[in-house]
């Protein structure tokens, strides 16, 4: 429903009043999505519809075109309703959509601030590249900034902008990289190999790591290598051609990390070799389960574990569900920062 920006609150009240108590409004966060991609509004509305099934929020969806010659500001309100898992009740989240063209795109902070559901945290999902300079006024209100570094053309420049904004902001912002979220299930599958204390000595026996990544997902593979290196305290020794790395562990043992491009899922295979044992996690194209294998001199053990999905809805849901300060991400990213 199109509305005047100054009357959004009133129209929202009307929207809920019309429901006559048949729907329950729910909200746990303010989720703002910003995109400059043409046609992003309907796409993001679709995404929000799916996200609100599991994460009740007030969604503020902004489609911007700062380069447009004409000034244009339009707003709509809508509700996304789902039948609750607990019963037959309709649970609804509200969405405010904005189209900002021309100089009015600079109104972003003003629009976001005036439409927040009070007292709830603000998550800003920034789709695409960050501009310079970053608007410090906007960043001062954000609790978590969500981005996908996989799509960045220059990781160093982009992250530099985020970090500068983070430093300028008066409150602590958690950096949430969906490229890191992509790795959650692989990290879980790899971590479980070493849960039993009797397997901990294997960390020092890792000789090599092999990672297969899909075209365009080299940065995802690098983050995975960075995670292993930072958590297992390896130091980067050599970077021969970007996909072949040499680390050294604390016992000065050399570990070769080779990654290769291969069509399929963003990360389709990770193998760790430790002496006579090989730990392997593979993700077949479009499969929703990972194949997890330990192969030793005597036997082979296999099992299936949930696989992640490269779908933005699943990635966002995973991110919203997990939360946390992402300190491991920062360490992992810093371990391979120059390679990204």
């Amino acid at each position: 429903m199109p509305v005047e920006i100054g009357k959004i609150d009133r129209e929202l009240k009307k929207l809920w009043a019309e429901a006559g108590g048949a729907m329950t409004r729910a909200s746990l966060i303010n989720l703002a999505i910003y995109s400059e991609a043409p046609g992003s509004l309907p796409q993001n509305t679709e995404i929000i519809f799916k996200i609100t099934e599991d994460h009740a929020c007030r969604a503020i969806v902004i489609g911007a075109n700062p380069g447009a010659p004409e000034n244009r500001v339009e707003a709509w309100i809508s509700a996304h309703c789902h039948v609750s898992r607990a019963g037959s009740k309709q649970i609804c989240s509200e969405q405010l959509s904005f189209l900002l063209e021309g100089p009015s795109a600079k109104l972003l902070p003003n629009i976001v601030f005036s439409q927040l559901d009070s007292d709830l945290p603000l998550y800003l999902w920034w789709q695409g590249e960050f501009h310079h300079p970053m608007d410090a006024q906007l960043w001062a209100w954000v609790d978590r900034v969500i981005y996908d570094s996989q799509a960045w053309s220059n990781f160093g420049t982009q992250l530099g902008r985020v970090e500068a904004a983070q430093a300028e902001a008066k409150q602590r912002i958690v950096l949430c990289d969906l490229n890191w979220t992509r790795l959650v299930q692989f990290r879980l599958a790899l971590a479980q190999f070493f849960d039993h204390p009797s397997s901990h000595h294997r960390f020092n026996e890792i000789e090599s790591v092999e990672i297969d990544f899909a075209p365009g997902y080299r940065s995802t593979a690098m983050l995975l290598a960075g995670w292993l290196a930072s958590q297992l305290r390896w130091t980067l020794e050599k970077d021969s051609n970007g996909n072949s790395l040499v680390f050294r562990n604390q016992a000065a043992r050399e570990i070769r990390v080779n990654s290769q491009e291969k069509a399929g899922e963003p990360i389709s295979r990770v193998g760790l070799k430790c002496n006579s044992i090989e730990y392997r996690v593979t993700h077949a194209p479009k499969a929703d389960l990972l194949k997890v294998t330990v192969e030793g001199s005597n036997a082979e053990r296999k099992c299936l574990m949930p696989a992640g999905s490269n779908d933005p809805v699943r990635l966002m849901s995973e991110e919203l569900m997990r939360g946390g300060p992402h300190s491991v991400y920062l360490r992992s990213m810093n371990a391979v920062r120059n390679l990204l």
Binding site: A56, H82, S84, R85, A86, D195, P197, W227, K302, C303
Partner: protein
């Protein structure tokens, strides 16, 4: 500590182990345990090496056991069973046939577990689940000890999960505990009370100790009273054999409701360690004012349902149910007024009621605050209602707060309004089943949500005098009938009416 786990889990990670279920062909295994383990595996919560060995008397092959469990899991699992996951999971299910008292069966079990350790990487960790009647504990535990299965080798662990009922009185509880302790130390023993595995029961601690607004008011200065209700529309169903000997007090109050009472009355623990929490809980059970015969008559009401109707359908009375004696004196309803003699809740009565064949099913705790002084609003006309904080345990888990608000208009008319939080509304993700959480905790060595020996024994020490009074030859308190579909006998209402209070309407 596995460094690769950092940032991935906020709970302790379960270790690969073999779960040996005694009573593997029973209802609990089929309806709850195997579906729970399957769901954990499907959600990627379990180490892949986790293995289950069903131990029971009936002859059966591994394949037959797997087939049986597959059918049950497809029926009772909270998520749809996927063939590709089940096929892998089924390979981790084994069946071991033996009589519970046959020592040779345990010797062969030990050999089998060794083999599983070698082949599946379970690392010598064993979790023994006693899903059997308490009279089978002794032979099982004794034989486990004789086979050396109660002790784990260096770097591994052996734990035992004991299902309720933990005895029928203090003496039998002590005896059962003694039997278990003969083979397993307290830190190896996990007494399961599935109520504690429920999300809302765990949320009581979060609500109380993570929100600064409640704790300062949580004492006799501001609280008027507390009510704990566990109501069900169901009758005795097919549990008459057990229920006739137990009754509502033993079946529900001694374990589930006293556990809830502890969570609502305890002091903040020093940390979230299992013993820190359980230390505080046991202080509450110890502080429950013991009742004399006279006090029992005054503070406890027993009832038994008679013929009536549930949801418009006629239902028989308890004594006409299959398996129930026609002159049965077993209570299907009990209401109590209890006192916690500690500094926090002295003079705050806690009313507990539990019953079968009540009009509605639901378990909740309601915390009733004292009324605001009536010096300002309507001081001569309408009385202000109390603020009530309700913690709904099941169904429709959530929290609500009743407060006063001014009605729109030119007069100062004040009406109660309700702020309501529903888990199902705010969080789309479904809560795991209580058994999933508790099994995971036992595999991780986290005993926080399990009852400790002293808690169980102190609870019986409180309950025993009530049971004794009911079977005494003289001055036996009455057993009051109530029609099925009502909120219990009138005497239960009078229990509160005498204090100028009334049961909360569910």
């Amino acid at each position: 500590m596995n460094p690769l786990r950092e940032g991935l889990a906020t709970r302790s990670v379960p270790q690969a182990c073999t779960v040996v279920i005694f009573g593997a062909t029973g209802d609990l295994t089929m309806r709850k345990l195997i579906p729970a383990i399957y769901n954990l595996a499907a959600d990627g919560e379990l180490p892949p090496a986790v293995t289950v060995v069903g131990f029971a008397r009936r002859p059966k092959t591994d394949e037959e056991f797997r087939k049986e469990q597959e059918e049950a899991t497809r029926k009772f699992s909270r998520q749809t069973v996927r063939d590709e996951i089940w096929n892998g999971f089924a390979q981790a299910l084994f069946y071991h046939q033996s009589e519970f008292h046959d020592a040779a069966g345990y010797k062969s079990l030990a050999e089998r577990l060794e083999k599983i350790d070698r082949e599946r990487g379970t690392g010598g960790n064993r979790l023994f689940y006693l899903a059997v009647a308490p009279d089978q504990f002794e032979p099982i535990v004794k034989n486990l000890k004789e086979a050396g299965l109660n002790k784990a080798r260096e770097g591994s662990w052996a734990r035992v999960i004991v299902e309720k009922p933990f005895g029928t009185d203090l003496a039998s509880a002590r005896e059962l505990n003694q039997i278990v302790h003969h083979a397993f130390a307290e830190d190896q023993t996990y007494r399961i009370d599935h109520f504690l595995g429920k999300e809302t029961a765990q949320n009581i601690l979060v609500l109380r100790f993570a929100n600064a607004i409640f704790e300062p008011l949580w004492n006799s200065r501001y609280l008027d009273h507390i009510q704990i209700t566990a109501a069900e529309t169901l009758g005795v169903e097919n549990r008459a054999g057990y229920y006739e000997g137990a009754g509502a007090l033993r079946d529900m109050v001694q374990n589930h409701l006293l556990q809830l009472l502890c969570l609502v009355a305890m002091e903040p623990p020093t940390d979230l360690g299992a013993d820190s929490i359980r230390d505080e809980k046991v202080k509450i059970v110890r502080s429950l004012r013991r009742m004399t015969r006279e006090a029992i008559v005054e503070n406890v009401v027993r009832g038994q349902y008679a013929e009536g109707a549930i949801n418009g359908k006629p239902v028989p009375g308890y004594r006409s149910e299959k398996g129930v004696k026609p002159d049965s004196k077993t209570e299907t309803f009990v209401a109590l007024r209890v006192r916690v003699d500690d500094w926090r809740l002295a003079d705050v009565p806690i009313y507990i009621r539990v019953g079968k064949r009540l009009p509605k099913s639901g378990t909740e705790i309601s915390v009733h605050f004292k009324k605001a002084p009536q010096v300002l609003f309507n001081k001569e006309s309408v009385s202000l209602d109390q603020n009530v904080l309700v913690i709904r345990i099941q169904p429709d888990e959530g929290i609500s707060l009743r407060m006063q608000a001014k009605m729109p208009g030119t007069t100062f008319r004040i009406e109660p309004v309700k702020m309501d939080f529903h888990y199902g509304t705010s969080f789309g993700k479904a809560s795991p089943e209580a058994y999933e959480r508790l099994l995971l905790d036992a595999m991780s060595g986290d005993a926080t949500l399990f009852a400790r020996r002293d808690e169980v024994e102190e609870a019986w020490a409180f309950i025993d005098p009530l049971e004794e009074a009911w079977v005494a030859k003289e001055n036996q308190p009455g057993l009051f009938e109530y029609p099925a579909g009502s909120w219990g006998p009138e005497e239960a209402d009078e229990l509160l009416a005498r204090d100028g209070r009334a049961w909360r309407r569910l």
